[in-house]
Symmetry: D2
Subunit: 273 residues, 4 copies
């Protein structure tokens, strides 16, 4: 007897060994506490760039919302329930955009690319959420000489330097009034019919995250530098890194450090049409 | 102006920075030589198990073909063109099966799960081919005391020991006459409608691989041992590893070591219906 | 002109490029703050073992002091000044002992072996202090299901599991009145005259550490398990791990978790005779 | 009863668990074959530099021998007996020098610094041989676009790029007639008396290595580039890397690739006085 998919359970490749454990589905009997897990240190820096250059990296249906400000966030997470207390680090690159679909319209952060230093959440995020996740070696953020310093690379080629310095305590960032959440594009190519699209849909993470509690926030001066690479240095990433390195930094727009605890599982992720 | 997808080019998430470089699409001007790349050391071991136990891990439309023999292959690859000469290692677990669809019928190796120690080919393989790839730490196969020894783990929990000993030179393995190639299931869950399926299709890698040249082949005694894990040890893999560890080893069915050079890019992968 | 050693500066191999930067010698102009660096999370568990078994791992001149209780401490450190804010993790294994030399006598923790997951402090510690440091893969301590969990391995063979559970807040541990500090044996073999000793001396880290500030301490139930290994699994460590695995666990003696900040550089380390 | 050192056996820190396994001492019953182990791929590149600049990195008693040519060798080793078949990679930086001591005189390669990507041989080599070994992340040499490419870094900062291109088959390199072997300086600082020297001796690896068999050798064009670093990037290595980066490259002096099998354990290492 072959197996049948159990109704209402999330599966991922390989599906042959039962429903897939992950952030949105932990085995029965495993206790999770979204008010305490994960712990998160976020280091962010932003810069103003050229609107036309940025629009070239927006998919159809999207327009820039407000100023062309790119924000790079490094989220170092620990105490992750669905990884039995382990952690990993992710880097988000995004800017404000509005999606206008046949039915839906939403404005928020357009999440252009994510890097993570663990393959497991890359797989769950790409498949279930449409997170545009790629792999990078990401150092734990370090504090030295008054600055919080973050770096990322691949096979020894460092493609990102980010730092926030001159830190001073600050109030929690007000969620921008206009934000509906985080916007991204879920995409799967078609097997065999090379160049065709199997799946292409806009997905939204709604802004609300009631279990996330900000413990401390500091603001400061932020710097971001992407290092252009040859194909030989970054054969799977150079097109992404070089596009970001080519964005002019017209003006730094500050940085911040946030310590937080708790957060949602993105079960509220939904498709916009 | 937002970007448009270029016709005939393969994209993967994130799509916003142009067509995605990968095994089936290297940038213009990059020379590849499928008769020389990759170099491959393959270490394989097989065992007879219980047919009913194995069928429980076959999806609908599949039946066991011939004996219920599980084969675990460790492929250590170097000189990979699309990674600019770098390498990685993959582990294949499969057994013989026949797929009978509405239109198509094929018999070959059913590829139940793949582990790799590099995230980049995990992403390309899952998205483009339907390879059921997961991440593992995989040691380079080592030769000691007359045996070739392979291990795999995750975050320090070793879940696989495989060895081939008593090696003797052998003729290249004849491709089993009945094989149409390698069969797998490409699957994507639906975002937001948790538990529903976005994409579920059988894909086939045809058996022919004319550029692959076997340089040396040895056969010997093979042993395979999967180690059962708690959820806390392998929170993303325990269901797969424990299912494989639960398969009874009724009889060892030998092992082999193969040195090869060259091979195809799987552009011939196709969907069966 | 060949170089000369600068007076009063610490050198290590290779000496040919100037004085060696390290925990006890940072370059001029680098600001360090021993009251804030490093941050440290320490997870400790102890067990009573057999006195005669333990004495077999004490060098000449040492005797057990009080009960034969083995303590394993996992120190996860971040914000380390001499590493420009980076961190690493070390594991200490020790038990109480008294050294009686020709001139000196001291009682404290006999530090039998140290594992670290970074080679740089292994080199500085062995050369300058006589720390008996070896390399291991050490996971960041993780919190799950109410326990703090630590593991260590080498090339994928996990040789240590340590956990502290049932945690409750506790007062800072009083430094045991009788302790003079930490005792160890600095040893260098003689090149060419294999089996002879170049250097063998007892060194002491005095107990005082005035800049170390305990921020929080919890006590609980501790468990320690060393896993015996074959030579093939741990060809450089099996003798150490197997000796520790062979110590009978007669009775658990509790565990603790300590969060601390600040500490000394061990410039007060001295040789006992 | 405390333990006694067994006569004629090599010990290293920690000495408390018996004689230390390593390249020059494997446990009884472990079969080794110096005619087959290790397998080695060596990639070398040389350049002419300024004699005065180079002499500043020679210790007392040494003079440059012949031209000031720096050679960087990357040795990728597998099938290492004393590691039960595992492997690692080392980088040697050296130049020709003559040592004139009170009694001894020898000319050969002065081994100025070694980097390795495994801590275990760093420990054995520093303690037993006087190898000036430090840790680095070293990629497996990769072959791409007709060149053999090697890189090394530390915590994501790449400090070395080396490549050999335009390869053509060549005869095995004749051991330079004048070479007595490889020269280095074994050094240990004195604990507590900071800035004083505990041990400083010149050691020699005699040139003969009868079990080493060259299987193939190619020569070509070699390029070497060391990248200068800030202290924050390489807090334990910047003095070494920056000194090498500061050596002028007056003229490239070729490169080579060598495949070899077998070799000695350095039990013939001896002290020169």
């Amino acid at each position: 007897m072959t197996y049948r998919f159990e109704a209402g359970r999330i599966y991922r490749m390989p599906t042959h060994f039962g429903p897939a454990p992950g952030p949105r589905q932990v085995p029965d009997g495993i206790a999770v506490d979204p008010t305490r897990s994960p712990r998160r240190l976020s280091v962010s820096a932003s810069f103003l760039t050229d609107a036309a250059a940025l629009e070239r990296h927006l998919p159809e249906g999207f327009t820039l919302a407000s100023e062309p400000v790119v924000t790079v966030d490094v989220h170092h997470m620990t105490d992750i329930d669905w990884l039995a207390g382990r952690g990993y680090t992710m880097i988000w690159v995004g800017w404000p955009a509005t999606f206008t679909g046949r039915r839906d319209r939403a404005t928020g952060k357009f999440l252009a690319v994510v890097w993570e230093n663990l393959a497991d959440p890359i797989i769950t995020g790409r498949d279930e959420i449409g997170h545009p996740k790629l792999y990078a070696e990401i150092a734990e953020p370090r504090r030295w000489n008054g600055a919080q310093i973050c770096t990322a690379g691949w096979m020894g080629f460092r493609f990102l330097d980010l730092a926030v310095s001159q830190l001073r305590d600050a109030a929690p960032a007000p969620q921008a009034a206009a934000s509906d959440g985080t916007l991204m594009l879920k995409y799967t190519p078609r097997t065999g019919a090379w160049g065709e699209t199997e799946l292409c849909q806009v997905t939204l993470t709604p802004a609300a995250d009631p279990d996330c509690h900000i413990e401390r926030r500091q603001t400061g001066t932020g710097t971001v530098c992407f290092h252009a690479a040859s194909w030989s240095d970054l054969p799977t990433l150079h097109h992404v890194v070089n596009a970001l390195a080519a964005l002019p930094v017209l003006e730094p727009r500050g940085g911040s450090i946030t310590h937080a605890r708790g957060g949602k599982t993105y079960r509220d992720q939904r498709v916009l049409v």
